[in-house]
């Protein structure tokens, strides 16, 4: 679905041209001057001359590569290219979400021009807690209003705005799809991260959906990689016919690991991230992270160009994608219904 992609590119052409070139021109000149000054003290000069983005990342560079690429694309559409007219100060939490508040505080102390908090509600909340004055651009799957990150979608208020991928919103849809795949199952397992800020609302929605669908839920908790195996083991043990992952960045970034475990345990599972079926998992349903990270990049660029975060409404991604892996289905010994296949945005054969 190319609509979301092209929207971002044309968006800034139409809207931000006016101010953009002027500013970039000035920045270029400043960068050039800084380059001259950098002869003696390069690091200092670079810092003071070109804007700096503080990039607060919950994971390691390897796991975040695809998201970071999308972010860079978004920045590039506004005219910012890392190393040329913008510097990015990365803080990697390496999957230890408890470190996020400290890293966020660190970025605030380093006086960056804008803090980008991608990859989920915990990151946004850590950044928001760290500063009330520095501008923050978030990227998350949850509902920023419900999480108290912003006042409303159209008027975020304060120093924060960003993009929501709707992944949390569609958790019940994953249960529905798993139910469609296993229509006769009386019991389905749900994996949740107890440390996630959205865990309770997701489980609540899932339970009411299960009631409508007429299935029982076996909720399994995992908050670290060590616990993953136990989850899959429990699915088999509890005779649940399928496993539905709640939306959680920790799970999403470990799609490869989860896909391998699903294959090993022969568990049909659905997650939020397309990385899961592409790594051999069965299927995924969730917001398009390429679109959401790209838009986060655009917002970061627009803020560097002087726009106020309160004037930038929170954007919801327009694309929620269904990816199915026919090979995985075959190895699990069943077939997708024609309606699922026809509704899939991408089919891996």
């Amino acid at each position: 679905m190319p609509i979301g992609e092209s929207m971002t590119s044309a968006e800034l052409n139409a809207v931000t041209c006016g101010g953009k070139f002027g500013r970039i021109g000035r920045r270029d000149v400043l960068a050039l001057l800084a380059g001259a000054a950098a002869w003696t003290s390069p690091s200092h000069a670079q810092r003071s001359a070109i804007p700096v983005i503080g990039y607060l990342c919950p994971e390691s560079p390897g796991l975040f590569a695809s998201r970071l690429k999308a972010f860079h694309e978004g920045l590039g559409e506004i005219g910012f290219i890392e190393g040329r007219n913008v510097a990015i100060d990365y803080q990697w939490a390496e999957g230890q979400y408890k470190r996020l508040p400290a890293l966020a505080a660190d970025l605030v102390a380093r006086n960056v021009d804008v803090i980008v908090a991608p990859g989920g509600a915990p990151v946004a909340l850590a950044a928001k807690a760290a500063t009330a004055s520095r501008t923050i651009v978030f990227e998350m799957g949850g509902d920023p209003v419900q999480l108290g990150v912003v006042d409303s979608l159209s008027r975020p208020g304060g120093n924060i705005t960003g993009v929501s991928s709707l992944s949390v919103e569609v958790s019940p849809k994953r249960l529905e799809m798993m139910h469609e795949l296993r229509p006769t199952a009386a019991k389905l397992a749900v994996a949740a991260n107890p440390t996630s800020p959205t865990v309770n609302t997701q489980l609540e929605k899932l339970r009411s959906a299960a009631e409508i669908l007429g299935v029982r839920l076996e909720v399994l908790m995992a908050s670290s990689e060590k616990e993953f195996e136990a989850v899959f083991a429990a699915v088999t043990k509890e005779a649940a016919r399928g496993l539905v992952f709640t939306s959680d960045p920790y799970f999403a970034f470990r799609s490869g690991q989860l896909a391998a475990l699903a294959q090993r345990y022969g568990v049909p599972a659905i997650t939020q991230s397309r990385d899961f079926p592409t790594s051999g998992g069965l299927m995924s349903y969730g917001g398009d992270f390429v679109q959401s990270h790209r838009r986060a990049g655009i917002y970061a660029g627009r803020i560097l160009n002087g726009e106020k975060p309160s004037d930038l409404p929170v954007q919801l991604v327009t694309k929620v994608e269904l990816i199915i892996n026919l090979k995985a289905a075959k190895s699990l010994g069943f077939e997708f219904s024609p309606s699922l296949v026809s509704g899939a945005d991408e089919v891996i054969e």
Partner: protein, 576 residues
């Protein structure tokens, strides 16, 4: 000084008039051209923006009708009571095709909900809720296609509900919820010129599509939509064509609108005036530049022409001033080959004639010294002193002097001598004037007078005799007085007639008129030999009188310088 000022103002007048003559038509032409250029461009802009608006409206229309067209496929087959898996597959396929659709509701012929599928929420299959009273269903049944009002999902994303029914009741109806955020694709692709763009307002005037998605996501807010409504209203009140106004960034824009039928929206295209009127501004700048250059050229031309016109006048003025000051040899040099040159030439001719006239005047003034006033006047009137040219003519020469004057002058005081001479010449001068004789010279007490030259008179001899008598009479009157004072002087006159050479003699400004010949000598001798109270004349004079006066023959007398004795005549006159 005054002359100088007059000259200057004439130059200024010419300069102004000539400048105006060039600059005004140029300015009028420039203004007219600019005005028509503006009108043409304005009309073209109206037309262009109108077409752009229509084309944009067509694209928005296509977007909406693309969706309704897709929805049409879901209302093709009649419903029965069985669950219909195929319809779900079709609906899911439509989801993939039409990303803007977020939810679909399929109703059967009784208006019961048979299928609800959503991208976000849970699907409902065969819920059989009665939706027959839903305004969407009623609306669609009335007009086949029904468009709801735009709603803002969570106060941010604009959504539109579309309902359509099939071509017969048994196929039921479909209601779709469309996320209008995706019109962005269409709207952002519409370019008006370089920086112009389009936006869409719904019926109440809320912003539902704009290249800046941030504005659309706040479209539900009155504050966001108001400036856009203002543009739409401005176009509405301007009637057909385009209107001008301010956009949210405060730029002046030209805008045109076109309706999107069906959902009853308005598409507005706008273009910054700076860009839309770019060609006009360029043309105006060109015109201004041409005007400026033209004005400079007009100024230079006017200066040159005014200078050319006033320069001869200045030369004429200067020339006449000089000529007026008496410099008659001054010549005005104007080679313009026109009336000015002609005028200068006639000035020069006038100066030459004036010089001639003055010369003659001076000559005549000199003549008056020795000519009788009547003669002088004559010469003056004729303006010709040709009469003074040397020639040989018959004249009567009259000489007179006082007897015993030398001894008298030695005896008395010079004042008395001068007083006597003064009285003497006064009476003689009066007599000479009376008889229109020509005074040739006087020295001491002697006087020489000429009759019949330079101007011939009638009866010269008679006139000369009468003159001599008058001289004797008047001087003798004086002598009576002198004698009473003890001065012993007498007075004698001699006349002779004959041919003599008369003419002007002298050098440069000192000229005299004189007579040369033996007749002069004879007259002088006769005068010398005349005693007091005596008038002696030669035979020729006596003959000339011809008995009209009592001339008495005095017999021959021996005259100095003459070998033979000359017959001499006298005349008696009454003495006081």
């Amino acid at each position: 000084m005054e002359v100088q000022q007059g000259f200057r103002s004439l130059f200024q007048k010419y300069l102004l008039v000539l400048f105006m003559a060039v600059a005004i038509p140029l300015a009028i032409n420039g203004v007219v051209e600019a005005w028509f250029g503006y009108r043409d461009q304005r009309a073209r802009l109206d037309q262009l923006l109108g077409v752009q608006a229509m084309s944009a409206a067509a694209e928005i229309h296509d977007f909406i009708y693309g969706i309704t067209n897709d929805l049409g496929w879901l209302v093709q087959l009649p419903w029965n009571d069985e669950p219909d898996e195929r319809r779900r597959t079709d609906a899911l396929r439509l989801f993939r095709q039409a990303p803007a659709i977020v939810a679909l509701t399929l109703l059967d012929h009784r208006g019961l909900e048979r299928l609800y599928i959503s991208r976000i929420g849970l699907n409902r299959i065969d819920s059989r809720t009665d939706r027959s009273t839903d305004p969407a269903v009623i609306g669609a049944r009335a007009a086949r296609t029904w468009f709801g009002d735009v709603t803002y999902n969570r106060g941010s994303e604009p959504y539109l509900k579309i309902a359509i029914v099939g071509n017969r009741p048994s196929v039921g109806a479909v209601i779709a919820e469309v996320n209008l955020k995706l019109i962005w694709d269409v709207i952002s692709a519409i370019k008006v010129g370089k920086t112009g763009f389009a936006f869409v307002l719904d019926r109440p005037g809320r912003l539902i599509a704009h290249p800046d998605i941030s504005l659309v996501l706040r479209g539900a807010e009155e504050a966001t939509s108001r400036p856009f409504q203002a543009i739409r209203d401005a176009i509405g009140s301007a009637g057909v064509g385009s209107a001008t106004g301010r956009d949210i960034n405060g730029r002046d824009v030209a805008a045109a609108a076109a309706p999107v039928s069906g959902p009853d929206w308005t598409v507005v295209v706008l273009q910054p005036l700076s860009e839309a009127f770019g060609p006009i501004y360029a043309a105006l700048k060109r015109t201004a530049a041409i005007l400026a250059i033209g004005t400079v050229i007009a100024g230079l031309l006017a200066y040159a022409l005014a200078h050319r016109m006033t320069e001869p006048i200045r030369l004429l003025e200067e020339g006449t001033e000089r000529i007026g000051a008496g410099l008659f040899n001054h010549r005005i040099s104007i080679e313009t080959g026109d009336e000015f040159q002609r005028l200068a030439d006639s000035f020069n001719r006038m100066a030459a004639e004036l010089a001639l006239a003055q010369e003659q005047q001076e000559r005549i003034a000199r003549l008056k010294r020795f000519l009788a006033p009547q003669v002088a006047d004559l010469v003056d009137r004729t303006g010709d002193d040709g009469v003074l040219k040397g020639r040989r003519t018959e004249v009567v020469v009259v000489f007179c002097d006082l007897r015993g004057f030398t001894s008298f002058s030695a005896e008395v005081a010079p004042e008395q001598v001068m007083s006597v001479l003064s009285e003497y010449y006064e009476v003689l001068g009066r007599a000479i004037t009376t008889f229109a004789a020509t005074l040739i010279s006087f020295s001491g007490d002697g006087l020489m007078v000429l009759v019949n030259a330079p101007v011939p008179v009638e009866e010269p001899a008679l006139r000369a005799v009468d003159l001599a008598v008058e001289m004797q009479r008047s001087v003798q009157e004086l002598i009576v007085g002198w004698r009473s004072r003890g001065y012993r002087v007498g007075f004698g006159v001699g006349l002779a007639s004959g041919s003599a050479t008369v003419g002007r003699i002298g050098y440069e400004s000192r000229f005299d008129y004189t007579a040369i010949g033996s007749v002069v000598n004879l007259a002088a001798r006769l005068c010398a030999s005349a005693t007091d109270r005596e008038i002696l004349m030669d035979a020729e004079v006596a003959e000339g009188v011809g008995g009209r006066r009592s001339v008495i023959g005095l017999g021959n007398r021996q005259i100095k310088g003459y070998d033979e004795a000359v017959p001499v005549f006298g005349i008696s006159f009454d003495t006081p």
